[in-house]
Symmetry: C2
Subunit: 333 residues, 2 copies
Amino acid sequence: MKKTTIYDVAEEAGVSLATVSRVINGSNVVKPATRERVLDAIKKLDFKPNQIARGLATSKTTSIAIVFPESLFAHVKDMIGGIGDTARTLDYNISIYTTEEIGDGNPVNSVLEKVIKSRADGVVLFNSDNVDNEIEMMKKYNVPTVVIGYEVEDDNLCSISVDAKSISKEITNDYLDRGIDDIIFVKPRQNLVRLDEFADGIKEAFAAHGLTFGDERIISTSTHYEKSYPFFQNYFKDHRHQLVLNGYDKEAVAVVNGAQDNGIAIPDDMEVIGMMNTSYSIMSRPALTTIHVPVYELGAMAIRLLTKMLNGEEITEHKVIVSTHLIKRNSTK
Amino acid sequence: MKKTTIYDVAEEAGVSLATVSRVINGSNVVKPATRERVLDAIKKLDFKPNQIARGLATSKTTSIAIVFPESLFAHVKDMIGGIGDTARTLDYNISIYTTEEIGDGNPVNSVLEKVIKSRADGVVLFNSDNVDNEIEMMKKYNVPTVVIGYEVEDDNLCSISVDAKSISKEITNDYLDRGIDDIIFVKPRQNLVRLDEFADGIKEAFAAHGLTFGDERIISTSTHYEKSYPFFQNYFKDHRHQLVLNGYDKEAVAVVNGAQDNGIAIPDDMEVIGMMNTSYSIMSRPALTTIHVPVYELGAMAIRLLTKMLNGEEITEHKVIVSTHLIKRNSTK
DNA sequence: TTGAAAGCGCTAACAT
DNA sequence: ATGTTAGCGCTTTCAA
């Protein structure tokens, strides 16, 4: 069964292919009567223009590539709603490329290679160990890019990131002011947000109080609850703290549950603060106080920024920094 | 800055474009020395073949479209790992298309139209109110399709679904045998799995015990915890049951939390069983007994089936039915 | 083993 | 207002 092409439509309507092309592209120079004939032929033949051929002819694929490491999957999931909705509204397709850090043969580059070959009009990248390399690649091939969770800017390159430092500093300051200084920071190994900056905020607050927040107070954890929960269940057998700051809600739930298993009352004996304001935070018992990050909007903004670049529109901010705020629930006093 | 093409490489290497094409496609008729020259030129020019042009020439896009309603997002998220990993291994790209049921202008069809225009080699569909229509469309345009969560089969059409009926019947039977018959079923409005069959399983078990499971025992809920939790918090003010079966873990957590808020002890006063075995089930307090559905594998299988169709390989099962099993944790006795 | 040339299905000048 | 034609960047016969 042969696919019907623009030629078939042209023949059916008794016009040239150029005219058919004009009507499917909404040109306004076509005589209404002709347009009708063409439209009828299109309907009769169930013709759908081949986007691939169109892409070749116009050098535009109307598609955007989203590239991220598998380990960031949980975070990207939350964001992909905003990405998808916005892309759909603006008539772009999105293609997903995941990189996996494990394994040999430089898989990351082979993924980037696919992205380049696909001739996506633009790409959105996520903060990862390899992000500099990825940015370099996109620049080399001159593809408009927006990076999420990492601060950069350049020609054809914008970024959207979260101001993690201000909020962590603010929160820490507040506790320190009240004399609460036995604080630890649980830092999941991967995150959308730059958690080093989160840690820096804590350190600055300590410094401002004439104290030191040493790296031994930072606990690196897996992003898998199956691993982090047993860890904390064990950890709290012989550790107590006043406040646990977390880089992600999921780990905060592991902390809450692990601590409660050891008879530590939340928030009376220990306070816990999560990050991202995901549904985990409201499902937790007690519900988590957490730092709200507008994840959906981050995705939406990324696509909007990208399409602006693609359309050559003026961009006022190449480097967007999104601020956050604390949502108080029951895991803090 | 012009993109470098196969012509540039040909010129650089002093061969014709046909030869370049041969080496990038791994033809074994090229003389090693020539191949070297071409490879050098490719490297020197950083040439990446244009997949769009190749797609036009070969009528193959090496891309697979995944189509699902936004409301199923939470479920698809869990599965997309399996889809992505498998697609990457088999060298297919995946493009995501979401349909949204709200709104006017028949948006579902406009999405399907994009899928057709994209000339994806194959498509993966998900169970939804509109799935029959979608299947029809794919059949009309002759695109190989696999449907997840819905039983169908045909030329160029396979399906993978979950046997929800057997498990619900089995579980219900077990409780009924022990004289426990105050059972309700919480049915989220959207699901990957056909929850009507789940309900049928319950009904059959009741019938086998000479009892009736009326539809008033089925509670339809939102898939948003923000909505389902307040509902159950209120519901359990004046309702008690022995067992609550749920179509999805997230709603089960809402049941657990809502019931506990009203002093109902889980599992002593009431037992709760979730479905899917997501991370929600282990984060819940008590941890949920839940029906394990191999979601990752469902996604992986879908892609494998699809690529088999694309390669014209023999397919033994067009209609795959996946079975499930109960994982006992602490929300049941 | 290599090159020439046609063609994939469109768009976009350029003519008419 | 419509038709003709030259690409877009590849793959794939067919010749040499």
